[in-house]
């Protein structure tokens, strides 16, 4: 290997290295302009998903949070309470197991599990494949449970209408300040496990203030998905968003 430019010389020529470099490929270093976003492909695919969802009047939610904030419980409760009203489809991303999908299969809704392996987020291409497998005919609302992670899912548009970020009372009031990029992208922030607020001395005002600083336009709702409190405001919102999507092609937010 040439020590100057690192090019592999063994095949092409055998020469003494005087570093005068007369052989043609050396000093042929050139700069090629690329100017491309690494997420360009994902962005294009997400736009494709969005177009397809909109043609079908399908409202699509991307549900995000840290591991264990209660995404699956929240989705389960939503399905069980409102599945008379809407036809749901669910796509669940999980690192390794299919526990979440199993839990959701106790509802009427068809569920597709994406096991991401060592990928810590969902991408638009995975949603495309999963929705083909699921079949979108006749669905009103598609719910996507993203991988439990507050960092990289923020960077991947899936083609959703609404980003719902869960923050549970066990995580502390300052979480939005620690993960601003995720919370800035939120259309709705759900404060979950509000049933534990008292023992945790959860400061609701402080949490809301922190969320509003980062995401001034996000709707904030406090609920207990497990105990089923505060959920009706969420169902009202969902019904409105669904109606807006059918009427205008946009989901209000």
């Amino acid at each position: 290997m040439c020590g100057q430019c690192g090019c592999d010389t063994t095949e092409t020529l055998k020469h003494e290295h005087e570093h005068e470099h007369h052989h043609h490929h050396r000093h042929n270093h050139r700069l090629v302009d690329i100017q491309q976003s690494v997420l360009h492909k994902n962005h294009t695919l997400a736009q494709g998903n969005r177009q397809e969802f909109t043609q079908r009047n399908l409202l699509v939610l991307n549900i995000l949070s840290s591991p264990g904030s209660g995404k699956t419980t929240f989705i389960e409760k939503t399905l069980k309470t409102t599945e008379q009203q809407f036809n749901y489809g669910v796509i669940v991303g999980d690192l390794a197991t299919d526990n979440d999908a199993q839990r959701l299969r106790s509802t009427k809704a068809p569920v597709i599990q994406i096991t991401t392996g060592d990928i810590c987020h969902l991408e638009a291409s995975m949603i495309k494949n999963a929705s083909d497998e699921l079949g979108l005919d006749g669905l009103d609302i598609l719910i996507i449970e993203n991988v439990g992670n507050l960092v990289c899912p923020a960077a991947y548009d899936l083609g959703e209408d609404i980003r719902v970020v869960l923050l549970s009372t066990t995580e502390g009031e300052d979480k939005p300040l620690k993960y601003p990029t995720m919370f800035k992208g939120a259309d709705v922030v759900i404060i979950n496990k509000i049933d534990l607020a008292e023992v945790l001395e959860w400061q609701e005002d402080l949490a809301r203030e922190n969320i509003q600083k980062i995401a001034p336009n996000a709707l904030i709702l406090a609920v207990s998905a497990r105990k089923d409190t505060g959920m009706s405001a969420w169902y009202d919102y969902l019904a409105k968003a669904r109606q807006a999507k059918t009427q205008t092609g946009y989901s209000l937010v």
């Binding site: 430019c5 690192g6 090019c7 592999d8 490929h25 050396r26 000093h27 042929n28 270093h29 050139r30 700069l31 090629v32 302009d33 690329i34 100017q35 491309q36 976003s37 690494v38 997420l39 492909k41 060592d118 990928i119 810590c120 987020h121 960092v151 990289c152 923020a154 960077a155 300040l177 601003p180 990029t181 800035k184 509003q212 600083k213 980062i214 001034p216 336009n217």
Partner: protein
């Protein structure tokens, strides 16, 4: 380890480019990474070193240009560089759009 999958995607793009250009070696990759892109430059460097092994980009240099955050205030129509994560404009408004700082971009490639 978001950076690994981003670098795999990056590698696909640069190897394709290199092939189109009939390059035998990639010497340097220039990238732009925004302050709020969610990418940690050190982790990206690590991912680069790992994923390029055994390719014509092995031993290449990764050059990262950091791109600061810039917002556009929707209230007073001003551009401003936020001083903290709250992104408050001088006018007091919290309503703004991020117009720069989310970049995860491949700028150029030095090949031979």
């Amino acid at each position: 380890m978001h950076e690994i999958s981003l670098m795999e995607e990056t590698l696909t793009i640069i190897l394709e480019t290199a092939q189109k250009e009939n390059a035998v070696k990639i010497h340097r990759l220039n990238m732009r990474i925004g302050a709020v892109s969610g990418v940690v430059p050190e982790a990206l460097q690590f991912a680069f070193d790992v994923t390029t092994q055994g390719t014509i980009a092995a031993d290449a240099q990764l050059n990262i240009e950091l791109v600061p955050t810039l917002c556009h205030c929707t209230e007073c129509n001003r551009k401003f560089a936020p001083i903290d994560i709250i992104y408050q404009c001088e006018c007091g408004s919290l309503n703004n759009k991020i117009i720069q700082g989310k970049e995860i971009e491949i700028v150029s490639l030095e090949i031979s």
